[in-house]
Symmetry: C2
Subunit: 457 residues, 2 copies
């Protein structure tokens, strides 16, 4: 359904209005110098020790496709805000600048640029909203999914969330984020096809209900789908397990797993495991679902519950405990001069930057340094050119490659960061002396002396 997202020719209008009014103001003032904007998050998100950056590579591609075709300019003209010469400028708009970015699948920490745009200020401003919307979603969902994967400690995690994710775009791109975070499979057919995850599914309660006879419903499904997973809690969970035993042991049907979706999952899993094992069916696995999140999975795993896989839906799909990141896109340089703002609690560090990630003697990452772009730090430089003179340097990498990036980087982080209750501050990130000096110089150069709030009383 094309009307669920912007059409290709509407992409320029997928923006906050002020990006366009500011653009016109820059244009009328003849402000065409290069600006650098930095995409980063200011504060550690609730309950997250690691943010897994995702979406920069597609976002860069998207930026190169922003246009303002004639029909869209007519819609803008109707607002009576834009003058004809500026609309003519927009008609020829295409991004001509530079984008440097941290590769998709890289763990990042507060204040580290995920991406920097350097371009004539109008161009760098106009793309703000689309860029942020794009990167925020995938990064948010990948960061949440990583927690779920870690809590499951190697047991497969399946995404069952598409029905309550926030729209089609979220459900589809969520599949990509999940793949990058290490999710094993998804119920989302189209998402799986697009991003190379394994489409997976079991059965719904409605299937049992429509048959009334649970045994008949199970038999039909197992005959049609050898190795399938049967949902046993529609009426009475352990009676359902007994029917699975009858079909697998007595009738010889190939049943891969049972799914528990309600009740006391720990108790039911133990009881089901005992019955299955007593029947000699120790190859039938137990999958749990139903309102799961990383904390519930952690508790089940810690308790040694015999659950072999987890289906996770709404909480992962909406990043329920932390449904947004404090992601911002801020001007840090204009016309080769560092720029900042000084709003209470929202100070900026100016200038173009690089992030350096150093390894310790054990091969693990031991800390990051954020430097000026022209410094040489220790370790690996994380930001790489992605768009040059408006041209994409390489297409977005396939999802499985990004997953490899993520897996390698995550494995090299201090292991304690992968604990559910780890604090993001546990990983050291510092600004270089040169960057701090630049910030001080920019602060000193600010035109307005600070006033004391309320002193006018």
């Amino acid at each position: 359904m094309q009307w669920l997202s912007a059409q290709d020719d509407e992409l320029g209008l997928f923006t906050d209005l002020y990006e366009l009014t500011m653009a016109q103001a820059y244009w009328y003032e003849g402000m065409h110098a290069d600006a650098t904007f930095s995409l980063f998050f200011r504060n550690p998100p609730t309950n997250r020790a690691i943010v897994l950056a995702c979406g920069q590579e597609h976002a860069a591609e998207l930026i190169t496709r922003i246009r303002f075709p004639h029909e869209q300019l007519d819609r803008l003209a109707d607002l009576k805000l834009f003058r004809e010469p500026f609309l003519r400028y927009l008609e020829d708009f295409r991004f001509s600048g530079e984008i440097r970015a941290i590769p998709d699948g890289t763990p990042v920490f507060p204040q580290e640029p995920l991406l920097e745009v350097t371009a004539p200020v109008i161009e760098a401003q106009v793309l703000e909203t689309a860029l942020m919307n794009y990167v925020h979603l995938e990064t948010l969902l990948a960061s949440k999914a990583l927690r779920v994967v870690d809590a499951a400690r190697g047991r497969p995690v399946l995404d069952f969330g598409m029905r309550r994710m926030h729209g089609q775009d979220a459900a589809l791109r969520g599949t990509r984020a999940y793949a990058i975070a290490g999710i094993h499979g998804t119920s989302n057919v189209l998402g799986a096809f697009r991003y190379g995850l394994q489409p997976q599914g079991t059965m719904a309660h409605s299937f049992i209900q429509a048959h009334v006879d649970e045994l008949l419903a199970f038999r039909t499904y197992a005959e049609l789908y050898p190795g399938t997973t049967l949902l046993v809690d529609t009426y009475d969970t352990l009676a359902g397990v007994d029917k699975v035993i009858r079909l697998a042991r007595d009738e010889g049907l190939d049943i891969g797993a049972i799914r528990l979706d309600s009740g006391d999952l720990a108790e039911l899993a133990r009881a089901a495991r005992r019955r299955l094992d007593a029947a000699g069916l120790n190859t039938i696995r137990i999958v749990a679902s139903g309102g799961l999140d990383e904390w519930k999975i952690h508790a089940l795993v810690e308790a040694g519950t015999p659950i072999d896989g987890f289906g996770v839906g709404t909480d992962m799909g909406t990043s329920g405990d932390s449904p947004s990141l404090d992601l911002v896109y801020k001007l840090t340089e204009y016309a080769d001069e560092p720029r900042l703002k000084n709003s209470p609690g929202k100070q900026l560090t100016p200038g173009r930057k690089q992030v350096w990630r150093a390894r310790g003697a054990d091969g693990r990452f031991q800390g990051d340094e954020i430097t000026r772009v022209d410094e040489v730090g220790t370790g690996e430089a994380l930001l790489h050119p992605l768009v040059h003179h408006g041209q994409l340097l390489h297409p977005p990498r396939p999802t499985h490659q990004v997953r490899e990036t993520a897996a390698a980087a995550l494995d090299a982080l201090p292991a304690e960061l992968r604990q559910l209750d780890a604090a993001m501050s546990a990983y050291p990130v510092r600004f270089s002396d040169a960057l701090l000096a630049l910030r001080q110089r920019a602060l000193d150069a600010l035109p307005a002396p600070p006033s004391i709030v309320g002193s006018d009383g």
Copy 2:
């Protein structure tokens, strides 16, 4: 960007895999009788006394467009789960059934069907995921926005959330939900064009930073956009206010409002108001933004803070305090027989239903009754036919009409439900005796006797 949502020809694949595997199983068994599925939410969402149902009308249209073109069937065939005759059946698939729904913009309560589908079971099953994903998003965002609007008590609320909403689909359809909930305007240009909200915008900190000289930036903007809103907190908020005064009073520029985006909004608003009034500029309004939610707005309004409008972003855009609804789509009837499930904590009430909303002597709604579809209750029947024999009976109503539905219905609810801390249970909803009797009969007819969990030990 078409790749952010399903293409028209991919809509059949925008589904959980199990819908399709269950469909094939029904097909092989020759189960073609009509099923009724009910779309409702089971439990009151966190912090919500009212859920504002939205999206049913577009979802019904979407359902009538589900197809499985040849290229998509080839992708399904690659999964090695589907047999050729069933794929041929899907090739001719189109929805042939009935949909009854509560109109968009109607307040609803737990257990009340927002929508019922009656169709051959395969058809009614296959559309589950797309239907739920569609209705969940708009209903979620409208219900959240309603709280923000109520907290602002008549002051305009502007949506600034698109940069951190969950993807393009969420940002665009969110605009519709916001319009229905009574939001005044949005920064979202394309959303505003699509759904008839007023596109609104101020300026970003980057605009001030690029100029360094705040006064110059303000002057440029006010000259170009008479009546505009100037953002005063980039460096020093009250010094920014003084510059606005200079431009408005001394230079005679037309400035509509100032925006505060950081710091102690209450204190800054009072100080700014005093300065503006002392300068004779009492027509310049004060707009606040920056991490606002309904509780913060409520506190500001309660305290009599001189703020004339609110820009609300991420928290409203992600329904931050309650980012999902417990929306479900459940089989309640098959082949003219009531169906239920009996999972712990997830019991169903079977049968096709109607919802009756009665008014008291004061003209306000005093309670709802959920009945069997063939009963006549008291008051207004909420579910109306929307699709008949697979044909849409009327196109989705324009957003402004839905807003009128919502405004009238909300005004007729008990006023205390509009309080931020009201409980959903404050509004009485009961099942009819006939419906409860039907449930008991269906429970009595269940084949499996209950077992005691853990009794196998």
